[in-house]
């Protein structure tokens, strides 16, 4: 269960008042925070790009359709997982939505437990992603604080060179390499070489 203090919110976009209020009540009966909008435009006008949680989106609405909103969100850099709701369940639309990276596609009327499970999973994904990005940011910050000599030692450590080889390559004593190595481990907040290598691999993957 996503804790309510994570800042995560379930955003609802549906042009039908009764559907919106039903969804709000259902989600809040499970302790989820919700915000609802009667149009895609209203959502875009008031929700920030870095919003956490998930979006429950009606596919067919007047004005900007659900699929169009999904497209615009992607263009703006939203990372909010999108669960599309449809009263039609037509397959081509579902295929297109999923190809564009929708988290799921649920046909109205839906099974409440399934909807709640998927909302929880999507929200968890959003919170986890944001947390991972925050961690990466911190690590990048730590990496930037290394001196150029420490960075040179780090690069060679990660590529598997022994202290002796590093010392001769950089023209410094092995003892000095050890001191740099200890400083790198301390600044990067890692305890073992394996952890350090993992961390660097994670950073490069982004």
């Amino acid at each position: 269960m996503t804790p309510p203090d994570s800042g995560a919110c379930v955003y609802i976009v549906d042009d039908d008042d009764a559907v919106r209020s039903g969804l709000r009540l259902l989600l809040s009966s499970c302790g989820l925070v919700t915000q609802s909008f009667d149009s895609a435009r209203a959502f875009l006008d008031s929700v920030a790009v870095d919003a956490l949680g998930c979006l429950l989106l009606d596919v067919r609405m007047p004005g900007i359709s659900g699929l169009e909103l999904q497209e615009r969100m992607e263009a703006r850099g939203f990372q909010l997982p999108v669960i599309l709701l449809t009263g039609h369940g037509d397959v081509p639309m579902a295929v297109r939505a999923m190809k564009r990276g929708a988290f799921d596609f649920i046909q109205k009327p839906f099974n409440d437990q399934y909807l709640l499970d998927r909302v929880q999973q999507a929200t968890q994904l959003s919170v986890d992603n944001a947390e991972r990005q925050r961690q990466q940011q911190i690590r990048r910050g730590r990496l930037a604080k290394l001196t150029s000599r420490e960075q040179a030692v780090l690069e060679r450590l990660v590529s598997g060179q022994a202290n002796k080889v590093i010392a001769s390559e950089l023209g410094i004593s092995e003892r000095t390499v050890e001191v740099h190595r200890a400083r790198v481990m301390e600044k990067m907040e890692t305890r073992t070489l394996a952890q350090l290598i993992q961390l660097m691999a994670d950073l490069q993957r982004e």
Binding site: V19, G22, P92
Partner: protein
């Protein structure tokens, strides 16, 4: 065979002439045209049922969704009030409310299932996609409408782009769309003076959302949309015709959506209406 007999009087003599003509080709062509019209009428009926079921599904699913989510939410709120692991006494108000709410949700789901079955039942009998030339489809439909066009006295201008790529389509369905659009254009001008009745038909190739597409456009010089938001025209049951069912354009839209294409309406310049649809050259 067609036989015509005539009588001629020539200097006190009565002469009879007989002319026989072999009209089997003409008859065959007429029968063929009639068959095509019957095909279109059949597609139209099937598509009308499909569009009505779709509209019904949407209209009914919205309130059903509201009913089910309200009922299940109330059920959860009631359950949350009770200490964990306890049950309400069987005859208590609490237990009765729970039963009733569960019943509301279950019956709502049942109604949803009925709608789903209806949708399955009328789902367009398997569509058949083959590569066809949109220009050829346009010409074919025009020949089917030749009679109506003559009656309407409208002047038709053709601008078919040369070298259009073949696109995958269910040909009879796309013919149905072109048929509906051209006939709408003809009907739209019934109150316009005869010498001002003009229709433009255009086909074109272009790129849409980064993908190759072909398009068809019909423009008339009828009264236009008279302030109606053009996108509303595609809603089922929406009609401006006194005797209309409001299905024609809704059917066109659902046919094009099934083809992964689209259709739109806009005011023509300087006046009248313009409808255009497009089809992707390659299906996803």
């Amino acid at each position: 065979m067609d036989l015509s007999v005539g009588e001629v009087h020539l200097a006190n003599r009565r002469l009879f002439t007989g002319i026989t003509r072999d009209i089997s080709d003409r008859k065959a062509a007429e029968a063929n045209a009639q068959r095509r019209l019957n095909d279109l009428a059949h597609v139209s009926r099937v598509a009308t049922m499909g569009a009505m079921a779709t509209a019904l599904a949407h209209e009914v699913n919205q309130p059903l969704t509201a009913i089910i989510s309200h009922a299940t939410a109330c059920l959860r709120l009631l359950n949350a009030q009770r200490p964990l692991g306890t049950e309400s006494p069987p005859d208590s108000l609490d237990a009765q409310l729970q039963d009733s709410l569960a019943q509301i949700a279950r019956q709502g789901e049942r109604a949803g299932e009925v709608i789903r079955q209806l949708r399955r039942f009328v789902r367009k009998s398997e569509m058949e996609f083959h590569d066809h030339q949109l220009n050829a489809v346009a010409r074919e439909v025009l020949s089917l409408l030749a009679h109506e066009i003559r009656e309407s006295k409208a002047q038709i201008e053709f601008d078919l782009a040369p070298g259009l790529p073949d696109v995958p389509m269910d040909r009879v369905q796309i013919e149905q769309v072109v048929f509906n659009l051209v006939r709408n254009a003809l009907e739209a001008m019934s109150a316009v003076p005869e010498d001002q009745r003009r229709i433009w038909l255009r086909t074109s190739a272009f790129v849409r959302d980064g993908k190759a597409a072909v398009g068809f456009c019909v423009e008339d010089r009828g009264p236009g949309f008279a302030g109606i938001e053009p996108s509303r025209l595609f809603e089922p049951y929406f009609t401006t015709k006194a005797s209309g069912m409001g299905q024609g354009l809704a059917i066109c839209r659902s046919i094009l959506e099934a083809h992964e294409g689209g259709i739109s309406a806009s005011p023509a310049d300087p006046y009248g209406a313009r409808f255009q649809f497009w089809l992707p050259v390659a299906r996803a």
